[in-house]
Symmetry: none
Subunit: 170 residues, 4 copies
């Protein structure tokens, strides 16, 4: 039940936005009574917070396979490929975050920031002149690529990815 509510809520928050998605519609889509939401989460904002936590948790999982990698170019390539390897279920969570970014002032909204250290170190190892700028550029583009992936049909994406890899020389 709790699971249902969360799934329903993410979908609706992602497609309509937090304020436009009524608790009623969430309950309905989840197939539960409206009251149950408040038994589990106390607040609509509580539900939001929970989903935010889950999203971040899910994002951290993406870090796992990277930790085993050692070669900097492999690491960067792996990270840049993430937008292409995102499941539909997962995209909901990211869309949900993207929809809130501009209205909520919460550092956690910058999902890709968790890659900062890894990327920065990689560029340093690769002996870039200004690894910090390079990292910022990289993360900025990474985010752009994710937005692109959330929207576009996936056909062209591989070509774009290759293009990006070339630009970063990896």
């Amino acid at each position: 039940m709790r699971e249902n509510i969360i799934n329903s809520a993410v979908s609706l928050f992602a497609t309509q936005g937090f304020h436009a998605a009524s608790t009623r519609s969430i309950a309905q889509k989840a197939g539960v009574s409206e009251g149950l939401i408040f038994r589990h989460f106390k607040n609509k904002e509580g539900l939001l917070e929970k989903i935010l936590e889950i999203t971040i948790e899910k994002f951290k999982v993406l870090m796992k396979p990277i930790e085993t990698l050692t070669h900097p170019k492999v690491i960067l390539k792996h990270i840049l490929t993430i937008p292409l390897n995102t499941s539909d279920d997962y995209k909901k969570y990211i869309k949900f975050i993207q929809g809130m970014r501009w209205q909520v002032n919460d550092e956690r909204m910058n999902l890709f920031q968790i890659f900062y250290e890894k990327v920065f170190t990689s560029f340093k190892v690769l002996d870039y002149d200004d690894p910090e700028t390079e990292t910022q550029t990289f993360l900025m583009i990474l985010e752009g690529a994710m937005s692109h992936a959330l929207r576009q049909n996936t056909k062209m994406n591989l070509l774009i990815l290759d293009n990006l890899l070339k630009k970063f020389n990896i």
Copy 2:
């Protein structure tokens, strides 16, 4: 008065989102009565639509100076510099669009698409292998850069810009 309403609405839509910004708060910030909003725009959605139109109109203005340029590299450089040369007033409009992108399915939300033709032609003239992919990559990054500019303090941006210019070889 009409102007006041629009300004107030853009600000609030941008910072809180369409649904979270109440007509009352819009009227208050505009210094007018709530009813006046509906005399001018019929709907809250009518107001939204009007603002969307204005945003697009403002964006088209950015095309004007480009039309006089001839050298492809200059054109591309000029376009890529846009995120840095955006006035604060202007940023409101773009933030507003960004906040709605994921909830509204309207082709017009892809603001940067208006540069497609210019960019594509430029890459073609520059004899790129795959100008289409290059264009898509370019626009994708352009959008990412704009998002970045909307958020970050502007110090670092010049460095990032230079970095991008280098990557596109312009």
Copy 3:
């Protein structure tokens, strides 16, 4: 202009009711500005009152031709024929009254009461046992006939009229 407003208002009051007909719609249908209504009538209720007066005035005109009649049966027949001889323009005014009858407690709403004296005297002259009851019955039926005429297609009405005349032996 004043005339336009009144005509427009009667029509809308008749077809939608007093409260449902907005001053805006009245002005629009009259082809004037909304403010003009208040220059001429001070109130929406003032407009209503004016129309009520006009309606009564128009109704009194129906008495004129009767005053020249002398034979009681001719008088009664003439009165009973009124519902059939009502112009469309005039029907608007009566519909308007009918729509308000049940919500407004104003003696003037009983339009047909102005015939009371004439009818009562007629039945008295005709030596009816209980002229008062007969009068009340007559006026009651008269009103029913008017309602009928406001609604029905007019084909059958002549037959009904004849039938009524027979019942009253006139």
Copy 4:
């Protein structure tokens, strides 16, 4: 609660009209919160529709005792007596209908039409020359009598009723 709302609404619709009776006043008179109205009926119009259905249902009940009658004169007399035997609770519903007749174009507003078949057959059995016209006249007068009963003090009504019965020879 639901019952309360309906009762309150009928009363107010009857005495003030649909548009003049605010949902707030309905809720207040019903002793419930305003929101509850919309939980039960979705719309103010939904509430109206429900009441219309109830009214018609209540009216159909009047048909029941007639179905056991066989003699045509008894049937007609019974029907013509209805306006005198209407409870106050019931009168509310009819007043409500009468107030809407001229603004709503709905066949169901002609409440007395449900007696048509019964009346027509009766006059046919009684061998009237033109049973259709007679029926129309009868129903028209019936409606007039009901309007009369809704308004007048009930003293005189018995006399009028007798008078009507005489006119129809029953």
